[in-house]
């Protein structure tokens, strides 16, 4: 029973990382390393809580979160593609800016420091009928399945085909690989990059909506706690391929679930809390060593 619940919480914790990672992956394929995923996730979570409380609809809330993320992503992209900002510096700036602006709105509009609790927040529904808890191994996971988790995995499954065989997929890959060449055959390479950054924002916004609406129904400033960066590590780890990236996301999700379990067992929480991040570091080192080996044989 213990183990089954661990699986369920691992899957639930994988979803936001997976959503953000898919967005970031598309973005990177077009040649932009997006380290502002964290900011868009945070903004998405914030918007999701407010809209969910105002409308009582998780669908509208998720959509609003995604659009907010996409809008921020698009503006962020313009600063890189049109104004020539350095993508790393701009991404860092975005993370700080969004966190600051949200903190300001929290204290100015909602008179709260750090946490936003609103009445009548609609949470994500469970999509499967009840009674599945008793299926062996995956029962609790099925019972908890929410629509954004389903969407995340459907996106993961569809993305390889979209990238390989649609025009936009080819354009994205060509832009990331040789932008001058893409331009020379008549593609609007900057617009393609902007589109993918908006995509990254869209999916990161959804990731934020999932974080906020899956169980707690509230927003706080530390809600994302570096998941945007873990998503970044995931698609580096997965070398920009959707399926391997999804495995990396699952690994990180599972580590997070295990970490929560271990904290409940009474181990020092701050120390255990570093586990996923330490693993990210180790994973990245392993990947880069492997890549180096491969290139030298």
């Amino acid at each position: 029973m213990q183990f089954e619940h661990l699986i369920a919480s691992a899957i639930m914790l994988t979803t936001p990382i997976l959503l953000a990672a898919m967005g970031g992956l598309i973005n990177r394929r077009a040649g932009i390393v997006n380290i502002g995923l964290e900011a868009k996730m945070l903004a998405g979570a914030f918007v999701a809580v407010i809209v969910s409380s105002a409308t009582g609809s998780w669908i509208i809330a998720s959509l609003a979160a995604a659009l907010a993320g996409a809008a921020i992503g698009w503006l962020f992209s313009l600063s890189i593609t049109r104004a020539g900002a350095n993508m790393i510096v701009a991404g860092l700036g975005l993370n700080i800016l969004v966190a600051g602006v949200l903190g300001f709105i929290l204290s100015w509009v909602y008179r709260s420091s750090g946490t936003l609790r609103l009445p009548d927040v609609a949470l994500l529904p469970k999509i499967l009928p009840s009674g599945l808890e008793f299926v062996p191994l995956v029962g609790p996971a099925l019972a908890m399945l929410d629509p954004l988790t389903l969407l995340a995995w459907m996106t993961t499954g569809a993305l390889p085909f979209v990238l390989a065989s649609t025009r936009i997929g080819l354009w994205i890959r060509a832009t990331g690989n040789a932008s001058e060449m893409a331009r020379s055959v008549g593609l609007q390479h900057l617009t393609i990059q902007d589109f993918t950054t908006a995509c990254a924002g869209f999916f990161s916004g959804l990731a934020g909506a999932h974080l906020a609406l899956v169980s707690l129904g509230l927003f706080n400033e530390g809600l994302t706690s570096g998941r945007g960066f873990i998503a970044l590590a995931a698609f580096y780890f997965g070398r920009d391929r959707p399926i391997t990236t999804a495995f990396a996301c699952m690994l990180f999700g599972a580590l997070e679930a295990a970490q929560i379990r271990l904290q409940l067992e009474g181990l020092p929480p701050k120390l255990i809390g570093t586990l996923p991040y330490v693993m990210v570091l180790i994973a990245l080192v392993v990947v880069s060593i492997q890549a180096q080996r491969k290139s030298s044989t």
Binding site: S165, R167, R173, E180, S184, L187
Partner: protein, 512 residues
Amino acid sequence: MRALPSPAGLQAVGLRKIYGSVVANRNMSIATQAGSIHAVVGENGAGKSTLMRLLQGVERPDGGEIFVDGVRVDFTNPGDALRHGIGMVHQEFMIAPDLSLLENLVLGEEPVKRSWGPLSWIDWPTARTQGQALADQIGALIDWDQRAANAPVHILQFVEIIRLLRRGCRTLILDEPTAVLAPVQVDELFALLRNLRTQGTALLFISHKIGEVMALADEVTVIRQGETVFHSSVAECTADEISRHIVNGELHHVANDEAPQPQSELLSIASLNARSVNRSHTLHNISLTIGSGEILGIAGVAGNGQNELVECLVGLRPSSGLVTLNGIALSALNPSQRRRHGIAYISADRRHEGLSMQASIETNVVAGSHRTSPISHGGWLNRAAMRKIAKDRLQALDVKYDRPSDPVSTLSGGNQQKLVFAREIATSPQVLIASQPTRGVDLNGIAAIHQLIRDFRDGGGAVLLISEELDELIALSTRVAVIADGTIVGTVKAPASNLPLIGRMMLQGAAA
């Protein structure tokens, strides 16, 4: 199957282009005909690239007219030119290395079964049929599923040509298409271009290799100082005549003068072996010696281990075996230690290894001497001393530049290479390893560089000269060693009279 485009003609009359105070083109007139190869020759800086930019619509002329099939056109961008059936094969290929050749072919004009805008599914079978049909027509063998980064360079060129044909181009402009190819690949390209000619495509072939022009072209136009100064059918003129027009009679003739007899043995390589790293060529059992006052040429078809040998000698690649300079073993030393013992190196890859293109002219010409006095003063750079030494070095080799603080990329190819020489021989080295020293250099530049190599030899230095230009090897070398498949298959004395033997050894290896 799609038929090849029908015959057409591109014509330019009296084109003029002015950049600020510089007149790049003053009076350029040229006409292409369907089913004909028209060569455009001229020195670097003569105005060839400006002409191409005008014909391709990258820039608009300040005067003169362009006609396609007798109709006056006004191109505002390359897309315009493409729509009129004019395509350009660039020197640096427009190819995305991580995509397959088929993906590269269709990019920008993908065939679809049902159009859903950007979300349409690409019809790969149709794409393949179209590409294959064109490849068959022009006689190219292409593995469409190959990743572009893994494909040989001439295949990339073919894919680019097929892409333009597929988009309906009837006039192709090729910008020095052989500059990056090995001799066998050049033969394949020429066969393909002849097929294109037979099928009615008009070809504008930019080159500064007169041999190629004579072998391939039907017509030739010479450009000098922004003007078309000579036009003739190739059948009615000689190579010498074209050369004279290119340099306005100032051609320095290249001939092997009486070389002094080599003195003592300076550099010795004994059973050098290197294993393959990163798909590099392996080297087996290479033994060579070079005496002071001698130029040893290395001939070989590109990609037979020449670059690897050079890297082993300058210390950029690990190898076994013994390399000694004046009896001192170099094998265990790193590049900077080898330099201090008197090795100088002219890299074949000038843009990446020979120079730092973004850095200033003065920085490039003093690089390597920055740790020694007087440039280094107690660990600090002495700017004034640096500038003075830079000026002296540049002046000694007659490098033409504007300001020493300009980036080195503003210099012409010939002046860049002279700058590399200026830096390398400034510290009085004993051995000069010169790899493809005249690649991408115009005729007068070539003559100057050949003289520098001779002067170095006459000063008692030893030169290892690696070149794909047989003429150059024969003109300069005391002896020529032939490398094939990573090993030395033979050494030829008096190379000028043994040219056929060298050629046979290059192609057939030790069997010759």
